[in-house]
Amino acid sequence: MQDEDFVTIRLTVNGGTHRLVVEPRRLLADALREDLGLTGTNLGCEHGVCGSCTVLVDGQSVRSCLMFAVQANGHEVMTVEGLARGGELHPLQQAFWEKQGLQCGFCTPGFLMTAYELLQHNPNPSEEEIRSALSGNICRCTGYQQIIEAVQSASQAVAGASATVPSGTGA
């Protein structure tokens, strides 16, 4: 094990800063899962096709199986673990729960992060825009319909919450 085989990097993940020593070939997904124990990010295909490993780097969705951890050095990463605040689910998570936007849940972190980016840019997307934004995420269980409904419902919840007094979780 030569020193030059490893690189020291600094990653900010969900607001916390971590120093990691990694091989250059360490995928960002593996650094998150194996080195930081953030196993919410799932690896499905490991070649950029399924979207289950989607995380945000500097606010932009990326496939964490197609990026090396060294490339995220000095950047800000957000994973599915960064969505909930305290014990409270993010409106997207709440909506996936209520609309049954998941069955086995394997694809869910990727869908949540992709939908999160969509709603950041476009708080009130049409069904077509939602389908287009989520076209790179594969779900083997739900048939997608409830996922689309969950994103619609989350966008309404967010819009409603900013227009009126926060109304809780709608329960």
């Binding site: 030059e4 085989d5 690189v7 091989e23 250059p24 070939r25 995928l27 593996d30 490991e46 070649h47 950029g48 979207g51 989607t54 932009q60 969705s61 990326v62 496939r63 199986c65 197609l66 990026m67 090396f68 060294v70 490339q71 992709t114 980016e117 969509l118 389908r131 287009s132 934004a133 076209s135 790179g136 995420n137």
Partner: protein, 292 residues
């Protein structure tokens, strides 16, 4: 599926990157957006000994007006091009095609230079840049040279770029104000590689006949295709189904061995190329008419 070991360099300038490529031409590969190279490495279909990561070279990421058209830095992300207002005003065809590349999370990383240098025949931008008469600037230790798109694409995943050279800029000439353009493709699922795609540019004369027509096709051969026989047929014709039919026939006659795979046979791709050629031409002509 994990990538094999490699040595990693992240130069901060074009000079530094070129020096690394010159010194390690046999073992180094350039890492741009990584959306094609990293999957190949994960599957161990590519195993470079060394990666020169050019993501940190900020001087390579720009979209600038150039000679009525655009100059694009090689590290411009597809997501940036897709939202660029100068590009939308000057060369909407580029923006339309950039939007068809992969999915949003892919476009956030994938770069215009990477797409050109990788030269996947199914990729959109090579075909579009071929139709737009683009030229590419590459840098090496001895200086720079400019290669026309026509000379750049050599065959399946192969280009005129040498291992010791770095692609730095894409130059795309502007179109006459009376031109119209369109890109259409067909894929099984939005964002997947197209089974066929066609870019069309049409310029109309004062009298409404076709002054100039250009076409670029992806996914129908080992390299992007510029069907010049079909273009020649269109000049001087009146826009309309008759002209589009003749052009589409010329396009598929000129195709040599479209790929055949589980997604579509060669015959099916020929059929698609014909249908999409007509669609692209009709839509480009309609836009040209509006600009007249």
């Amino acid at each position: 599926m994990k990538p094999p070991k490699f040595r990693y360099f992240a130069p901060r300038s074009v000079e530094e990157a070129v020096a690394l490529l010159v010194e390690h031409a046999d073992e180094a590969r350039v890492l741009a957006g990584g959306q094609s190279l990293v999957p190949l490495m994960n599957m161990r279909l590519a195993h470079p000994d060394m990666l020169v990561d050019i993501n940190g070279i900020s001087e390579l990421a720009y979209v600038r007006p150039w000679d009525g058209g655009l100059a694009l830095g090689a590290m411009t992300r597809d997501a940036t091009l897709e939202r660029d207002t100068t590009a939308a005003a000057r060369l909407p065809l580029l923006v339309e095609a950039a939007h068809c590349v992969g999915h949003p999370a892919i476009r956030n990383r994938s770069t215009v230079g990477g797409s050109i240098a990788h030269a996947d025949p199914a990729a959109e931008l090579p075909a579009v840049l071929l139709a737009l008469n683009a030229a590419f600037e590459v840098r090496s230790r001895s200086g720079s040279r400019t290669i026309s798109a026509q000379d750049f694409f050599k065959g399946y995943l192969s280009t005129d770029l040498k291992a010791s050279e770095l692609l730095t800029e894409l130059r795309v000439p502007g179109l006459p104000s009376k031109a119209g353009s369109a890109f259409v493709e067909f894929s099984r699922r939005e964002g997947d590689y197209a089974l066929a795609g066609v870019a069309a540019v049409i310029t109309l004369d004062e009298d409404g006949t076709i002054a100039d027509a250009r076409l670029g096709l992806c996914s129908v051969g080992p390299a992007p295709v510029r069907p010049q026989a079909a273009e020649a047929l269109l000049r001087g014709q009146h826009p309309g189904d008759e002209a589009w039919d003749a052009a589409a026939t010329a396009v598929i006659t000129g195709l040599d061995n479209p790929p055949s795979d589980i997604h579509g046979s060669a015959d099916y791709r020929r059929h698609l190329a014909s249908v999409l050629t007509k669609e692209a031409l009709a839509s480009a002509a309609e836009r040209a008419e509006r600009n007249r």
